[in-house]
Amino acid sequence: MAPQSERSPSTTGSVKTAMTMTEKILARASERSHLVPGENVWVNVDVLMTHDVCGPGTIGIFKKEFGENAKVWDREKIVIIPDHYIFTSDERANRNVDIIRDFSVEQNIKYFYDIKDLSDFKANPDYKGVCHIALAQEGHCRPGEVLLGTDSHTCNAGAFGQFATGIGNTDAGFVMGTGKLLLKVPPTLRFVLDGEMPNYLLAKDLILQIIGEISVAGATYKSMEFVGSTVESLTMEERMTLCNMVVEAGGKNGVVPADATTYEYLEGKTTKDFEPLYSDQNASFLSEYRFDVSKLEPVVAKPHSPDNRGLVRECKDVKIDRVYIGSCTGGKTEDFMAAAKVFLASGKKVKVPTFLVPATQKVWLDVYTLPVPGSGGKTCSQIFEEAGCDTPASPNCGACLGGPRDTYARMNEPQVCVSTTNRNFPGRMGHKEGQIYLASPYTAAASALTGFVTDPREFLQ
């Protein structure tokens, strides 16, 4: 499983046909020696992911087009993850989980992460939670492969040096039957992030900085490649945060070159062979952006667009009603560790309701068991309780996208929320007139402590 430490000429490419990492992955998956941006090619898919919101529609298309008795192309390459609308009494939402379960049984799908007992998620050993984090934790994200999913944040897996992007039900129905999809090769924007990361910044600040720079349509139809000494220093979860939000800049996919950090994360998670690919030195990038991370400050995306960037310290007069920490973007173990660090440093109590929704069952367990550094052995959950936060909820997508009316922490009033999630368009978390400030877990925790949008440096220095 361990990849070669030496990069062979086939993976780095030789001077003749310089390509970016994304071009190379698509070339290999389409059995072509060379590709240029704009070409449309049939790509062999390594993993197809769907969930309870788009799975039923995908299955409907698969059956309509391939026949009621058709079999999926490969029962081991389809991953079906209930995660969106789980802990709800909404009958249609419950029915949709039944549809994906019936299909998974009928097709003998190898990776179906079921939940039957909604009253206690812990009673469901197979249940994972938020699909993108579950994909990573269960070893489905592998360097050099192609992952397609019926969710726009499928680009999260680019953190592993994988080509990963979101598709619709119709395309997913096609993949389900054929294992292939016609994809257009995107040109690549390169983001070089150098410099030491200040202790008050997180990857969320970096990606909000970038989106603010290039706008919500700045990478439309394009790939975003993240390199540089800062990126190399990031953990896998932080790299995921970076890649997770490329779709918020319109990007088709985002990639981080696989390295020792990647292989270490993957150890014990997959037994499958994989071969990473890397951009050639002389590959063509559409443009290159450079950032000196050591000079950056904490930022938020103000209502109502992820590119409406503002310095946190310049929003200090914004009074808030609540804080939300969760989702594929901001509900990972390290996100909760970061929030706990701020609460611990302050020793104070939160001034507004603070909702915590771990992304997966594994994250939930970490929140309740892992000691927070410098706390004398306290867990995140203990620190959250002492700070007066709500008890960490059952893992799922939760209120990040509003969801059914009875969704935990859904914004049912026109309130102001600081959130570690990914989108702040009108109505995203429920109420159309609600105001969402997207922020890092540091900034979210600091804001919870004051009741205003607050720079984490107030507590971390």
Binding site: G38, D90, T170, T178, G250, F291, L311, G427, R428
Partner: protein, 269 residues
């Protein structure tokens, strides 16, 4: 303490380095594509097929006189395609930039499964219900399943956000035939053509600044024109680009079957 100057410095570096390192690749490469990424599933919803490549001559010539329901032969590259001109005529509904999929169909309604006919209809009743109060005119009147507006005029980045196919489906189910936007988010564009629910057309200029909800408009596909009868103005539409061949085949499934990639419909076990 870092300052705003740092951010400005980052911007300046980005700009200067992009000058020195960038290789500019045109958005529409010169090489004509033989394959495309898109498909039409519910062909029945689309009045007819249409030619997707426009002769450049037509694009640079002055707009032809206003007319409706004409028939034309359009040529592209070396082949000549006879296409019955598709025309959409009706009232337009005007929105601005960055209308994301949560505004098109809020997440609480995603429990509706588009492939179920009853739920398809219901999705139509919720189309654009997520628009904030800045849009005082309802797109679909309460109690109705369909909208009286059949053409949406939008600004930049229409359909950004999630990959939910419910978004073009909700618009199609509500009776929308075409969207004319300044630009689209990638997944929405692809899903629109993949489902055949709406034609995602791009205007050359920012039409959303010049049209008002309720204006009477016509979209002439073959001529690549949007005509606003209320204001008497005409606007050029951009060619649909790479979508052509797969649309001509009748969708990604039909295209794959034509090329022998998958067997004839449907496969029975």
């Amino acid at each position: 303490m870092a300052t705003a100057a740092a951010a400005a410095a980052a911007t300046a570096t980005a700009a200067s380095s992009s000058l020195s390192h960038a290789t500019i690749i045109p958005r529409h490469p010169n090489k004509p594509s033989t394959l495309t990424t898109l498909s039409f599933r519910s062909i029945s919803k689309a009045p007819t097929t249409f030619s997707t490549k426009f002769p450049s001559k037509l694009l640079s010539s002055p707009p032809p006189p206003l007319r409706r329901l004409s028939a034309a032969a359009a040529t592209h590259n070396n082949t000549t395609t006879t296409a019955t001109t598709t025309t959409f005529h009706g009232l337009c509904y005007v929105v601005r930039d960055n209308i994301d999929t949560d505004q098109i169909i809020p997440a609480e309604h995603l429990t509706l499964v588009p492939s179920n006919p009853d739920e398809y209809r219901k999705l139509g009743s919720f189309a654009l219900v997520g628009l904030p109060s800045a849009y005082p005119i309802r797109f679909v009147d309460p109690g109705d399943f369909q909208s009286k507006y059949s053409i949406i005029i939008a600004g930049d980045n229409f359909g950004c956000g999630s990959s939910r196919e419910h978004a073009p489906v909700a618009l199609g189910a509500s009776g929308v035939k075409a969207v004319v936007a300044e630009s689209y988010a990638r997944i929405f564009f692809r899903n629109s053509v993949a489902t055949g629910e709406v034609y995602p057309l791009e205007s050359e200029v920012r039409v959303c600044d010049e049209c008002t909800t309720g204006d009477v408009v016509t979209v002439e596909l073959a001529q690549g024109l949007l005509i606003n009868h209320t204001t008497g103005k005409e606007y050029r539409l951009k060619p649909i680009g790479d979508a052509g061949p797969v649309i001509d085949a009748g969708g990604i499934f039909a295209y794959a079957r034509n090329t022998g990639m998958i067997s004839s419909f449907p496969v029975s076990a």
